[in-house]
């Protein structure tokens, strides 16, 4: 019918080089994460992948990852939010006032804090969406305002400690449901002192689900003639992902099990990945970021979507603020300082485009992990905060240059 049919036929034969070239970004990200982990594992004499450190990695970075989910959506919609660090600090302070000073029940304080976060996001989104004020400026103002309000709220002091049930937001672990007898047998089998078998069970299920979803996706792609990933790549990629998953879960299981934040984070990641990739809402947000005029002329309510993106960001920043305060077990006026930069960096390392319309949730999460592993690894190595900043800056620059270079080469 058309000459392009011949091309399809050619594509069917394994053309690894070309496939790799056109998907360099996705593989690059995965390999960058692995390379960085291997590097730090070696230079820290194996400290990086110790059970306790892996647990720490999740606890330390959960709030960054949670905010990166919201930030990805804001950036895909063609905007930016500089206020998230301040909002996060402010909500932590607000929670301290509610829970510690006013002694409000935690079950009430948490929804109130999340609602306040959403309200703050909505207030900023309103000016961006309906008044077309650049988001850079609106959220820069928000950054100053909420930094100031946190100081005012806490009167410059740290407030704490929080009650146990509030701390559980961050430092809690999922209780093991496997009976002690079975557990001890398994522990003996693995040759470890203790084992959270429930965690291991969840991990195995999760690995199977991931592989099953990937296989389903691959079948669909083949059915619709989307450029097909060579089988070898597919297998290697899945082995790495499932292997890493099992490894991490095993490590966690031999320490204290699955942290609550890990569950929160995983659930949110799955939910947001689903929203962005499989719902009309998500599709429309990409359209707005890709070409706002064309989206508008297609009947999409572009203003409302922008407004929602910021509202959602505010809510996630509030959740991050709660988790952060729970982890420190105190609210301090400095909480969340400059965190917005880590969040934004994570999203761009994860492949989002400054121009909007491009980016994936999973990319932002991996980007956040890359930042997190570097922070953690460099701290273990005892590298000063001065060099740490320089190195993180260079990594961000390299990631973006790599993106632009790639795009140019593909034309």
């Amino acid at each position: 019918m058309t000459p392009s049919n011949a091309e399809i036929a050619n594509d069917a034969s394994p053309n690894w080089g070309r496939y790799l070239l056109s998907h360099l970004r996705e593989y690059g990200l995965l390999f960058a994460l692995i390379a960085i982990m291997v590097f730090f594992q070696v230079v820290t004499d194996g400290t990086l992948l110790k059970s306790v450190n892996i647990t720490n990695l999740f606890l330390q970075n959960s709030y960054i990852i949670i905010m990166a989910l919201g930030m990805l959506i804001v950036i895909v919609a063609g905007h930016i939010d500089l206020s998230v660090g301040s909002v996060m600090g402010f909500i932590g302070a607000f929670a301290a006032v509610l829970v510690v000073q006013w002694e409000l029940p935690v079950a009430l304080a948490i929804p109130v804090c999340l609602a306040l976060g959403a309200l703050i996001g909505a207030a900023q989104g309103y000016w961006v969406a309906y008044w077309q004020i650049p988001s850079f400026i609106v959220t820069l103002a928000g950054m100053l305002i909420f930094r100031g309000l946190s100081l005012w709220l806490l009167e410059g002091q740290s407030v704490g400690p929080f009650p146990k049930e509030f701390q559980a937001l961050s430092t809690g672990f999922i209780a093991d449901f496997i009976p002690a007898g079975v557990k001890d047998t398994l522990a003996g089998l693995f040759g470890v002192k203790r084992l959270n078998a429930g965690a291991l069970f969840f991990g195995i299920i999760a690995a199977f689900i991931v592989i099953w979803l990937n296989m389903r996706k691959r079948q669909q792609n083949i059915h619709y003639g989307i450029q097909e990933e060579p089988a070898a790549f597919f297998i290697v990629r899945n082995v790495i992902v499932a292997g890493a998953l099992l490894f991490v879960v095993y490590k966690l299981a031999t320490f204290r099990g699955l942290p609550n934040v890990l569950i929160t984070m995983t659930v949110l990641t799955v939910v947001y990945a689903f929203i962005t990739e499989r719902t009309t809402l998500g599709r429309r947000i990409y359209a707005v970021g890709g070409n706002v005029k064309a989206a508008k002329l297609s009947g999409i309510k572009t203003e409302r979507l922008t407004f929602l993106a910021f509202t959602n960001m505010g809510m996630l920043a509030a959740l991050a603020g709660l988790i952060f305060a729970a982890r420190l077990n105190t609210a301090t006026p400095k909480a969340g300082f400059a965190v917005e930069l880590d969040v934004i960096a994570a999203v761009f390392i994860g492949g989002a485009s400054m121009a909007g319309g491009v980016g994936k949730i999973i990319g932002a999460v991996v980007g956040a992990f890359i930042m997190g592993v570097m922070n953690n690894g460099m701290s273990i190595m005892g590298i000063g905060i001065d060099y740490q900043q320089v190195i993180k800056g260079l990594v961000l620059l390299a990631a973006v240059i790599f993106d632009v270079y790639n795009k140019r080469k593909q034309g």
């Binding site: 091309e7 619709y224 989307i226 009309t280 599709r283 359209a287 002329l297 009947g299 309510k301």
Partner: protein, 506 residues
């Protein structure tokens, strides 16, 4: 009288298109030389060759200025010779003062320090020369478009202009501003400044031009001397459109049905210039199964009419009434317009029609996502099936529908835009320049699709600058000029000459 400029045998080829074919033009010292032709006849390309936008070597032929052969490598070369173009879209900075605008890039300065005293003195002299009574420090954005046009001319004079080229200078002007401008041209001529005037308004051309060169399809048709003999507008029009219908159009036989859409007393004002009315009291109808054309030149308000109807996407203070199937409909937002059964295929598919970074499939479903979703969750299998179906029926040439739209040719991109709007299942489809920038073969395919739409019982409103195209596929035509519908005729009774004379007689 000696010759100032001679362009000989200019041929400029773009990939797939011969924009200029052996064009020659000569301009005498001290004359006003008009250049006329339809949209796409090659006027702008010729002027871009002359001003160095297309550097020497990128075209064939030679340019003699003052008897010397010149080789231009950029605009700065032509400007240093005194060849200055004033484009339709003014190249002025609205937030700077008149004086600052006059000397932009040409500042009166020593070692980078501007001599404001001299700037203001010279500005006053220049403004006096063009008859503009404004203070040099006035911010440009505060004065009207007509006065801004005069500032552009003063800016040219500040550069010691020898050949002034004006591209549609009166297109955006009111009647008395236009007259002022034409008087100024005659005044400059008496001071010895030569000019080339590009215009669609033949009455203006006859008023000021000494000679007229007519371009058609990238070639010189004639050069008429207005000084010795009186040249009628009819003669010019005939030369402008005089090609035979060499393009082919699909066969069609239609009998339009009942009234589908009625637009009554539609008025629209410019979004930025509160005093400019862009659409003036327009009334028209579209029947079921009918293809209605809107003829007119660029800038006559056709796109503005369409976009103001489609969810008030253009303009402000919009008034008027629209009836679909005899019922009044609300068209305040785009989704209301879509719900009322309208669709608008933009003339600017890259800027307004497509998400270029996204694949074909998500572009096609964008205006009707609800149809491939269940409770807000996309059914991607159904979505792919829909896109695949359009790929086949519209013959979109691509290996898969997951290809990014960016990688498609113009004609295939246009088919994606059409597919998007067909999937929204409209009753009235407004097509704005649907064949702009696409090759002849793809054009034929687009015409066939439009025919099928009408055969389905939909109404089509087609805006086009190509008159043969309108005559070839429409049932009925409206002629638009300066924001008004100035005529209506059956396509069978119309000719390019009759349309053009309606436009230019306004």
């Amino acid at each position: 009288m000696s010759t100032l400029l001679q362009m000989r045998g200019i041929t400029k080829v773009f990939p797939g298109v011969r924009a200029l074919n052996n064009v020659s033009i000569s301009v005498e010292m001290g004359e006003i030389h008009a250049l006329v032709g339809e949209n796409g006849a090659g006027k702008s390309t010729l002027m871009k060759v002359l001003s160095g936008v297309y550097p020497s070597g990128s075209y064939d032929g030679s340019i003699l200025f003052d008897g010397q052969q010149i080789l231009l490598s950029g605009i700065s070369d032509s400007e240093s010779l005194g060849i200055i173009i004033i484009h339709q879209e003014l190249a002025l900075v609205p937030l700077l003062s008149i004086a600052e605008n006059l000397f932009i890039g040409n500042e009166i300065a020593k070692a980078g320090v501007i001599n404001w005293r001299e700037v203001y003195q010279r500005t006053e002299k220049l403004l006096e020369k063009v008859g503009l009574d404004e203070r040099p420090a006035t911010v440009l954005g505060k004065i009207g478009v007509g006065k801004q046009q005069l500032v552009e001319i003063a800016k040219a004079l500040a550069k010691d202009v020898r050949l002034l080229i004006l591209d549609e200078p009166t297109a955006a002007l009111q009647e008395n501003d236009s007259q002022n401008l034409l008087q100024l041209l005659l005044e400059l001529k008496s001071q010895g400044i030569t000019s080339i005037l590009i215009s669609h308004k033949l009455d203006e051309v006859r008023q000021v031009a000494d000679r007229v060169t007519v371009l058609r399809d990238g070639a010189t048709v004639s050069t008429l001397d207005c000084r010795t003999t009186s040249i009628s507008e009819d003669k010019i029009v005939q030369d402008m459109v005089g090609r035979d219908l060499s393009q082919r159009y699909p066969e069609h036989q239609r009998t339009p049905g009942e009234l589908l859409m009625q637009v009554k007393n539609w008025n629209v004002w410019h979004p930025d210039h509160a005093e400019r009315q862009v659409i003036k009291d327009i009334n028209f109808t579209v029947r079921r199964g009918e293809i209605v054309g809107i003829a007119g030149l660029m800038g006559s308000g056709r796109t503005e009419l369409a976009m103001s109807l489609f969810g008030k996407s253009y303009g402000r203070a919009i008034s008027g009434e629209v009836l679909v199937n005899g019922e009044p409909v609300k068209l305040d937002t785009v989704d209301q317009a879509i719900a009322a059964g309208l669709a608008y295929c933009t003339e600017d598919r890259k800027e307004l029609g497509l998400i270029l970074d996204d694949p074909i499939v998500s572009n096609i479903t964008l205006a009707n996502l609800a149809a491939v979703a269940d409770g807000g969750i996309l059914n991607t299998a159904e979505e792919s099936r829909v896109a695949e179906q359009y790929r086949r029926t519209m013959n979109i040439r691509t290996p898969t529908v997951f290809q990014r739209v960016l990688n498609l040719s113009g004609g295939n991109q246009q088919k994606v835009v059409l597919s998007k709007w067909l999937f929204a299942d409209p009753q009235v489809l407004i097509l704005d320049e649907p064949t702009r920038g696409i090759d002849v073969g793809a054009k034929f395919e687009i015409y066939s699709i439009v025919n099928e739409l009408a055969a389905d019982g939909r109404g089509v409103l087609m805006i086009s600058s190509e008159m043969p195209e309108l005559l070839g596929i429409c049932d009925r035509l409206y002629v638009m000029s300066e924001g008004r519908l100035v005529g209506e005729m059956n396509a069978a009774d119309a000719s390019q000459e009759s349309i053009m004379s309606m436009i230019v007689s306004e």
